[in-house]
Amino acid sequence: MNLHEYQGKEILESFGVRIQRGIVAHNAKEAVDAAKQLTAETGTGWHVIKAQVHAGGRGKGGGVKLAKNLKEVEEIAGEIIGMNLITPQTSAEGKKVHQVLVAEDVYYPGDSETSEFYMSVLLNRATGRNMIMYSTEGGMDIEEVAEKTPHLIFNEEIDPATGLMPFQARKIAFNLGLSGTAFKEMTKFVTALYKAYSESDASMFEINPVLKTSDDKIMAVDAKVSIDDNALFRRKKYAEMRDLREENAIEVEARAVGLNYVDLDGNVGCMVNGAGLAMATMDLIKMAGGEPANFLDVGGTADAKRVEEAFRIILKDDGVKAILINIFGGIVRCDRVAQGVVDAYRNMGDAMKVPIIVRLQGTNAELAKEIIDKSGLAVHSAVQFQEAADKVKEVLK
């Protein structure tokens, strides 16, 4: 589950990580009030107005701007809130901005130069351990850094038995070229950051940039935080942070009825049991000349109620011209699934407006085909995987 910058920062701060301070605003007036309050609390003269959407590259799309006085705060906040922010990571339509973070200016001049670093904490799948990935090249697209100057990216792997050790925090601070106060501040920052990661059930932290201020403080200026979906049951406070406006509306509905659904752009909807078979079915649709309209895993209990729910979810996408049901019945018997499909189809009435191809294989597959064929409904049946692909080709003609 992804969080907004302001929510991520809230979590970091609760574990003692220094952050660039800010206050969320939902309209221009709130933004001005936030700016005044922030000036009173931090002494900041200028303010940074940052769009809060789940997408990177916000600056490039005009979603992050500096305001040098309250009038500019009002103007810029008014401009950003409500806009469709288009960044390299959003779709062409962009993402609607519902709120901004009014943040303190942390690039103030002082005794030393400011510098920016990159830091993320994530799972290294190859070793099954967490690692801190960091670089002297902060504030830039890390994938670009990895491609052009891979020697400037460092990894520090954490032993699960000990957690992050002080020598590792020191190594990171040294590798980032710091000394004196900034060095000490960085070891504190890294230590707190890893504590936050391991105690919040996060699946990813990306802090870009980590800033060394002109008075040698180390702080998170941005925060991209994801929480492990599998751990939300024990992180209720974070689960409540979910912003459904940032997610696909059909996917939100599907989740509410317990269906694992991912919305795609194609013309053939699909309903499959099992994630691997579901992906394979999407691939087969493509090979048959169609484009998958979704990923949908109905799981083990494909009864009439569940099939009907899945039908309704799939049909919310207007682009769907046909639906392919692919169930490998093992412990669940195919004849039961077939009856479920027939009942669901009948219950749908006029709402069912596209051809259906049902491929049932496994226990009682032939009996299932008979049930479908005798139902008198406009449902094409198949037993072999290839047969199903051929039928998809046929109905798309």
Partner: protein, 291 residues
């Protein structure tokens, strides 16, 4: 021969008396699997499905000589169950549970690394050696005995592949469902290695999906091994968009090297017979083995 489980495996079920555990233990017993008991803390001393229930895995090892465990414990407690099995001396730990928090698995994976055991899964359908032992949730009848080994991250896609292989008049030595999570105990390479080294296995079907580097690692190991046994491969998720989790927690394209296209390319470069269509796995096995 076979790998991991056979007719002599002494199997216990962790989460024995729960609904999932009960249902699948019944199916396993019906298949002829040697289920010697189960563990449900607090229910020790009772009998369930005609088998003894123990409070701890250690007790099951001591009293009935269990050497293999299958775990149906709910996600919040599953990592603990894995570590308990490892600590008690269980050699093969098969974890069916889906949805274990990553942080828990980081700990469990590290814990078992230092012990003499093998973890399969989590989030997997289990392992079956046809005619001998079904230690999982797969439909047993699909898997006829034969000479083809199967390694797969997915459940139903494994059944699909096995069914296609059987329809070609062939059969299965052992099918290993390794699971679709980001952290799993037995990797694609580990499972392929077991099967390639099994004298009875003449060919291996390797089914992967988007995300991670497991298939590439297996392909590299295979070529370096110099083995003459053919591997037939398929990768699911060519049409999956980047950055989205497709059902399995580990099935997510993170960069350019963990797409289906990239994996298939590296597999082909390392001598694996890759099919693009999931409907052609069986045909390809037949074709390659007939040569």
């Amino acid at each position: 021969m076979s790998v991991l489980v056979n007719k002599d495996s002494k199997i216990i079920v962790q989460g024995f008396t729960g609904s999932e555990g009960t249902f699948h233990a019944e199916q396993m017993i019906e298949y002829g699997t040697q289920v010697v008991g189960g563990v449900t803390p607090g229910k020790g001393g009772q009998e369930h499905l005609g088998r003894p229930v123990f409070n701890t895995v250690a007790e099951a090892v001591e009293k009935v000589g269990a050497d293999t465990s299958i775990i149906f414990v709910p996600p919040a407690f599953a990592a603990d169950a894995i570590m308990e099995a490892a600590n008690a001396g269980i050699k093969v730990i098969i974890t069916i549970t889906e949805g274990i928090p990553i942080a828990d698995m980081v700990k469990a994976a590290d814990y078992i690394k230092h012990r003499d055991c093998r973890l399969i899964g989590p989030n997997c359908p289990g392992v079956i050696t046809p005619g001998e032992a079904k230690v999982g949730i797969m439909p047993g009848f699909v898997f006829k005995k034969g000479t083809v080994g199967i390694v797969s991250k997915s459940g139903t896609l494994t059944y699909e592949a096995a069914d296609q292989v059987v329809r070609q008049g062939l059969g299965i030595t052992t099918a290993i469902g390794i699971g679709g999570d980001p952290i799993i105990g037995t990797t694609t390479k580990d499972a392929v290695e077991l099967l390639i080294n099994d004298p009875e296995t003449e060919a291996v079907v390797m089914i992967g999906e988007i995300g991670g580097q497991l298939e590439a690692d297996a392909a590299k190991w295979y070529k370096a091994s110099g083995s003459k046994k053919p591997i037939i491969g398929f990768i699911a998720g060519e049409t999956a968009p980047a950055g989205r989790t497709m059902g399995h927690a580990g099935a997510i394209v993170g960069g350019s090297d963990d797409t289906a296209q990239a994996k298939k390319k590296i597999m082909r470069e390392h001598g694996i017979h890759v099919v693009d269509s999931p409907a052609e796995i069986g045909l390809k096995v037949k074709e390659v083995m007939g040569k």
